[in-house]
């Protein structure tokens, strides 16, 4: 990891971080990535690539409509709302 990567990630995560915070995270993330890197040492030459180990396949539902939430319920925890809509800061 380098500082540029941490800055890139913080931008993707929309986190406004101070230079000190970026430095702290650089140290922490480097350690985390190094720990995860240990996995690279495992011999997986005899293992098929997989995304899941649950053994489940084809879990699907019939195309049927079920009741939705009331609009008031859906917006109950929204910090700001207006005319039944969620009010959010504009995208810059």
């Amino acid at each position: 990891m380098d500082l540029a990567q941490v800055e890139h990630l913080s931008r993707l995560a929309r986190l406004g971080l101070s230079p000190e915070e970026l430095q702290t995270l650089l140290g922490q993330l480097t350690a985390i990535v190094a720990a995860v890197d240990k996995l690279q040492e495992a011999d997986v030459s005899s293992v098929d690539p997989t995304a899941q180990v649950g053994g489940l396949y084809d879990v699907m539902r019939a195309d049927e409509v079920a009741p939705s939430l009331e609009a008031e319920q859906a917006l109950a925890n929204a910090p700001r709302k207006e005319a039944g809509l969620l009010r959010v800061p504009a995208i810059q």
Partner: protein, 484 residues
């Protein structure tokens, strides 16, 4: 400098006509609902809520892929595409990255009467986002309003190969794809309301070069017209830059209807890094070969092949075929009218002409209107046999369309059957000659046009029931000019 060649590929997003959303039971039909009244913990992305795949959406995607001659891999999975935007409640879109439901097909389409084929890279399945409303101008407002009714609606993406070579080809490709989706019953084809959307990748290269130029993505085209206009503009812009020795910047540009220009939205340095990873909440799919065969067997006759067959099988024009294959139901209705005994050309004229006009005005599909294929066939047969005049038939068709009666039955009921009886016709001819002696004299003196008023008088006297062809023939006989 070598001549520049445009290289264009389209990405088309189509909302699927399922009843419920992609991963939850909320309604897929969201238009017209009060804001945020069509959501649940799953499509709101509330903690702990789990998605479950809608089987109908998977089957519609496979059917589309099969109709596009794609390969259906035996194994497929969903992935998370991560980005932050206020219309995306979970902070990621469930999509398909490296193992989509289908790969490598093609779409046939026509440009200026020539058939072309464009490769299809893949057809995959994902979910739609919510909608944003902006107060005032998007650039000046400091807040947005979010409606999540659309969030989670099944969205199928058809990715085309960069096989298109001119802006003219793009709308034709899109028309063919749209019609195919309508034939399959998987999408309503409504570009205006956004249930069918199109993005394009555009680059230029010297003709003959294999390597691709720098590509620009163009968005925001919501009609065939704006698609062609945007591509024409973008090809012109890139050509101009290259000819002036400048380089093309890889970026995303939006089509502005107002400015009739593409406008830069996002450069490469701001390009998204979606950090795709496998969706842990959805077990992968093993697409059985039996299901694939079963879906393949249920595919409708594709529009292009249907057109070929109608042209081959019936004596009708290419223009008529085009109108009659707008929707599969139109063609089915036409074939039913012919099967009920109407001559094909006349049947096509009546369906594509008067009947379609009535249907359009009443906003009803031909297969749902009150005139059955059998009833139209009866009426067409009577007109063709000279039993009823064309104008009377048109009036009765309009009346029957409203009342639900049978137009042929109205002919009999009202005594409107065209009269060809010799004695009756002779009497009407006598009357007409007495009424319009000048016209008769003019005709005899060689004025062909004078026949018109005489036939008109006969029609009027007969209450429109006199067979006009017969009337004209009888008049000619009576007024036989010397030497004829």
């Amino acid at each position: 400098m070598a001549e520049l060649e445009p290289v264009i590929g389209l990405e088309v997003h189509a909302q699927l006509l399922t009843k419920s959303k992609m991963f939850c039971g909320c309604r897929a039909e969201y238009l017209g609902l009060p804001p945020n009244s069509n959501t649940c913990p799953t499509c709101l992305g509330l903690p702990g809520a789990l998605p479950v795949i809608n089987r109908a959406a998977v089957e519609m995607t496979i059917r589309t892929a099969l109709a596009l001659a794609c390969r259906i891999p035996e194994f497929s999975k969903f992935d998370r595409k991560n980005y932050f935007y206020p219309d995306l409640p979970k902070g990621y879109q469930i999509s398909q990255f490296d193992l989509p439901l289908s790969l490598a097909g093609q779409l046939e389409f026509e440009v200026d009467g020539q058939r072309r084929a464009c490769g299809i890279t893949r057809v995959h399945l994902e979910e739609d986002a919510g909608t944003l409303h902006h107060a005032g101008e998007i650039h000046t407002s400091n807040f947005s309003l979010v409606d999540l009714n659309r969030a989670g609606v099944p969205l199928m993406e058809v990715v085309g190969e960069p096989d298109l070579r001119s802006p003219r080809e793009a709308p034709q490709y899109l028309r063919a794809l749209r019609q195919l989706l309508i034939y399959l019953g998987v999408n309503d084809g409504n570009m205006e309301q956004g249930s069918l959307r199109c993005d394009a990748n555009v680059s230029l290269r010297p003709r003959g070069q294999r390597e691709m130029g720098v590509k620009v993505e163009v968005k925001n085209m919501n009609s065939f017209r704006s698609l062609e206009a945007a591509l024409t503009y973008e090809v012109g812009r890139q050509t101009d830059l290259i000819q002036r020795g400048m380089t093309i910047v890889q970026e995303t540009r939006g089509w502005s209807e107002l400015e009739q220009a593409t406008v830069s939205q996002r450069g490469k340095e701001e390009a998204q890094d979606y950090r795709y990873f496998p969706e842990p909440d959805l077990p992968p799919l093993k697409v059985g070969r039996e299901l694939v065969e079963q879906l393949k067997a249920g595919l409708p006759e594709p529009p292009m092949r249907l057109r070929d067959r109608l042209l081959d099988q019936y004596e009708i024009s290419a223009e008529q075929v085009l109108v009659l294959t707008e929707r599969p139901q139109d063609a089915a209705y036409f074939e039913a009218v012919v099967a009920a005994g109407a001559p094909p050309r006349a049947a096509a004229n009546w369906q594509a002409g008067p009947l379609q006009a009535l249907c359009k005005a009443a906003r009803v599909e031909v297969e749902r209107c009150s005139i059955s294929a059998g009833e139209l066939a009866d009426l067409v047969r009577m007109v063709e046999a000279g039993e009823v005049s064309g104008s009377t038939a048109r009036e009765l068709l309009a009346e029957a369309f409203e009342s639900g009666a049978s137009p042929a039955a109205l002919v009999t009921e009202r005594g409107l059957a065209q009269v060809s009886d010799a004695a009756q016709m002779d009497a009407w001819v006598d009357d007409a000659l007495r009424q319009l002696p000048k016209a008769a004299a003019d005709f005899q003196a060689g004025a062909e046009r004078a026949l018109g008023p005489l036939v008109g008088a006969i029609r009027k006297a007969s209450g429109n029931r006199a067979n006009p062809d017969l009337a004209a023939r009888l008049l000619r006989e009576r007024l036989a000019r010397p030497g004829e």
